[in-house]
Amino acid sequence: MHPSLDAVGVTFRFAGADAPALDDVSLRVDPGEYVALLGPNGAGKTTLIGMVTGLRVPDRGTVRVCGGDPTSARTRLRLGAVLQDTAFPRHLTVRELVEGAAVRSGVPRGRAAGVLEEVGLDDLARRRSGKLSGGQRRRLQLARALVADPALLVLDEPTEGLDAAARRDFWRNLTARRDAGMAVLLTTHIVEEAGAVADRVSVIAGGRVVADESPASLTGRLADRTVSVRTALPAAVVRDLPGVLRVEETAGRLVVVTTSPEAVVRRVLHDDPTAHDLRVEAASLEEAVMAATDRMSA
């Protein structure tokens, strides 16, 4: 069986740009696997999504979706996508748009009703898309992408504009399809959300993949710990301690990122016996991603 996505050595440079947007990027997503593409703005995530969806063609390297060329209509039968900044034809109704996606993908029109119920748009089926809220439009995009049961679903910032409850339901809907073999490639700025749903995170920085592993593995590799304590001590007291990477001082609280939390805790309690509300936490996925991208730029 072909991988759902197999990108090998993808390189792409925008006209006039000094550096390539993507530089020898390889990424594989297997059936049923959920992979999050993370990285700072301008890292090349959306450019890579463009390659996967056939909107762009690499200068070098190959991109195959289910073994096929993503620029071909036949391959796109296997591909679903929720893209950023999409407005629908405003005079078509929700149902017409989802049924239309079904018909164009060669699946029965009747499948639309179930998907509309799945994403919670069944009550709005007769509403014209021009009258939907941002969150409703996002769900409509998802419904259109899901109606053909794609083998690979590409989600570019899919939960942008959704509130916390809607985001939770969004991911719950998708998780139900993992067992059916649907693979997901997603980008999101909400890193912890990616960590919760993805089997693997692929971190892109400067157009290169700088990490590609499970969220637990990525955070586990990071020795950084965050020490947070309410104290009257100034930041300068701990800034020069060995292992301290970053110190923030906000409203009577010191937040110290360090590879040696014991030294920080000892010093704070020695200098300020009234210090309280002390917490030592492992690195978050967001910090691990930042560390991976920092290593790249260092």
Binding site: P31, G54, R56, R78, L79, L83, E117, R139, D169, R172
Partner: protein, 270 residues
């Protein structure tokens, strides 16, 4: 949003979906285009009412004169010239502006990642203007009949309609070429700036004899002139031999316009 146990099967995701036929895809695209057209009645004003109003105005003034081709009333020959104006406006503006707006709103990217080949979507936009064209010529015909200046058989009328529809293809391609690169507002402005001067210089509003002599010379090179001459063919009856030349000119122009549209569309937006 609710969570529902949807009957998703591994087979549906893992096995190839049967591709719909080209005709089914085109039908779906045309259906959606038509729905949008008819749910936006304001568009009808500019596309249908304006050219018909112009036709009614000039027909009321000059339509009864028998200076038309083959001694026909001018009002009847104006079906060809004003019909050409109306049809070229509809086929050039509607698909071009529609493409520009869809591109701006990101919908074209959705189409590109769907199983529908983009040329089919563009073709659907042109096909969806055909009811407009029939409506325009039908309304002009009714107006001419009401004014008592209509002398045309059903067969001639159908040939006239066919000539207008086929002859409007290059204009649709020009509209798509502009719509592939410019914003919606810019496309509207550019195409309107093209339509009206080309209509006047091509003799669609006034006979070339009424215009300065140099304009008559220029007109020979304009596609609008050849569209109106092609449309006049069915009204001229036996004197229609020149139609082949006009059709050939329009075909050549369509090839050029199609090449420009293809380059405009394919040129990556970097």
């Amino acid at each position: 949003m609710t969570t529902v146990d949807t009957p998703v099967t591994a087979a549906t995701a893992a096995t190839a979906t049967r591709a719909p036929s080209t005709l089914a895809l085109l039908g779906a695209e045309v259906r959606d285009e038509l729905k949008q057209v008819y749910r936006e009645p304001a568009a009808l004003f500019f596309s249908v009412l304006m050219p018909v109003a112009f036709f009614a105005f000039f027909s009321a003034m000059f339509g009864g004169e028998t200076a038309g081709v083959g001694g026909l009333p001018v009002g009847t020959t104006m079906l060809a010239t004003f019909g050409a104006y109306g049809v070229l406006g509809a086929t050039m503006l509607t698909p071009g502006i529609g493409l520009a707006e869809e591109r701006e709103r990101g919908w074209l990217d959705v189409v590109k990642v769907s199983p529908v080949p983009v040329p089919l979507t563009l073709l659907a936009k042109v096909v969806a203007t055909l009811p407009y064209c029939v409506g325009i010529l039908g309304a002009m015909t009714a107006t001419a009949a009401a004014l008592g200046v209509l002398r045309i058989g059903v067969g001639q009328w159908l040939l006239l309609l066919a000539a207008l529809l086929v002859g409007s293809l290059p204009f649709a391609l020009i509209g798509l070429a502009v719509g592939a690169r410019a914003s919606g507002n810019a496309t509207t402005a550019v195409l309107n700036a093209f339509v009206i001067p080309m209509a006047i210089a091509g003799g669609l509003w006034f006979p070339l004899e009424m215009l300065p002599g140099w304009m008559g010379s220029v007109a020979q090179f304009l596609p609008t002139y050849h569209l109106s001459r092609l449309a006049l063919g069915p009204l001229e009856g036996g004197a229609a031999t020149g139609s082949i030349g006009h059709a050939a000119y329009l075909l050549g122009f369509a090839v050029v316009a199609g090449a420009v549209a293809a380059v405009a569309y394919r040129r990556p937006a970097r």
